[in-house]
Symmetry: C2
Subunit: 195 residues, 2 copies
DNA sequence: GTCTATAGCGGGATAGAC
DNA sequence: GTCTATCCCGCTATAGAC
């Protein structure tokens, strides 16, 4: 029997984060109020403060857990072989990880401005670590003569931007499935750094 | 002699838009208040409403004039020749137009959510028109057998994302000048669609 | 753990004097 | 065209009852 009042911590906790993620992705951090989040969760605004110190922490937690999951998944993926295989592996990994997480991607790339300076520094460092993975692949490929890249740093940023942009327009159930998308992007990426 | 009160329309009008652009680019539309804009302009909040119907119109005007200038500049640029030359031309045009306008780019791509549905539709239509320019180049190149692209629509989105991402990290006076950036991106773009 | 109530502040927008 | 003053509303966060 549903209760209107009482103890729901095991349900409410995750629900707060899920709801905040969805609302912030849709309307933006500054435009979403704690009251709005509470209403969707099904509690009063005050109750949210049992789960978060303040609104800023809510945003930071969302972005940090996204980056933590990303790093964990990247560690679990084995990107081995020659640079060509590793570049394909990275491209497919990036797409598989990010495509089913469009809200997280949106928040993580649009709300950086709204992090406190300290929180921003933390997230930024994690992001740079991820980018370094790709840059290492490119550098190794250039070193071995299988890639020709005018500037590995720029090529890294260009490829990441290309891949991340995908999340802005891809919609599940659209013209192309994820497997086809992967193939298409592997082709574009691979050629862009080819000799 | 500076006046604190009186008629300033010729100065204040543009100043409102300039200030709003800068503040919104930095902090986001929802996070910037009319009082804040007024303070930077040097007037009281009420005076802003001599220049804009409301806050939403301010955002829309900024985005619309950005897109109008983009279309005018694109019309003035002559992208002629074979598809390879036209693709280079488009790449250089995009970079030259967008790099010196980082605030406009930021606002135009980050604040789409905060447009009213009607305003969104207007801006979106202009954006699609711009994308169509690139897609036509790619399609012609594929038709003439000089490009090999798995899917022209996706390649268009991928290239636009790659180029637009540039505005997120490029800083004037950095390691590379605009001319070098142009060359590097032309190389990446051209190869990504090559045979 | 959630509720109600509220403190304290700042938001967009308008009215009317100058 | 700008000012001052204000309306009305919503915001974050806290306090204390249950």
């Amino acid at each position: 029997m549903a209760r209107k009042q009482g103890s729901h911590s095991e349900i409410t906790g995750p629900k707060v984060l899920d709801t905040a993620l969805r609302l912030i992705a849709r309307h933006g951090y500054a435009a979403v109020s704690m009251r709005q989040i509470a209403a969707e969760v099904g509690v009063q605004a005050g109750a949210l403060y049992n789960y978060t110190a303040d609104k800023q922490s809510l945003l930071f937690d969302l972005m940090q857990s996204h980056m933590t999951e990303l790093q964990a998944a990247l560690g679990a993926a084995d990107l081995r072989g020659d640079p060509v295989a590793r570049l394909d592996g990275f491209t497919r990994f990036h797409i598989r990880f990010h495509l089913p997480r469009s809200d997280q991607v949106f928040v993580s790339y649009m709300e950086l401005r709204n992090l406190s300076p300290q929180n921003f520094a933390t997230i930024e460092a994690m992001r740079r670590e991820y980018e370094a993975t790709l840059e290492n692949v490119l550098r190794d490929g250039v070193g071995q003569g299988v890639f020709t890249v005018p500037d590995t740093r720029i090529a890294t940023m260009a490829i990441i931007a290309m891949l991340t942009g995908l999340s802005n327009w891809y919609r599940e159930g659209g013209r192309l499935g994820m497997a086809e998308i992967e193939d298409i992007y592997c082709n574009l990426v691979q050629k862009s750094v080819s000799r």
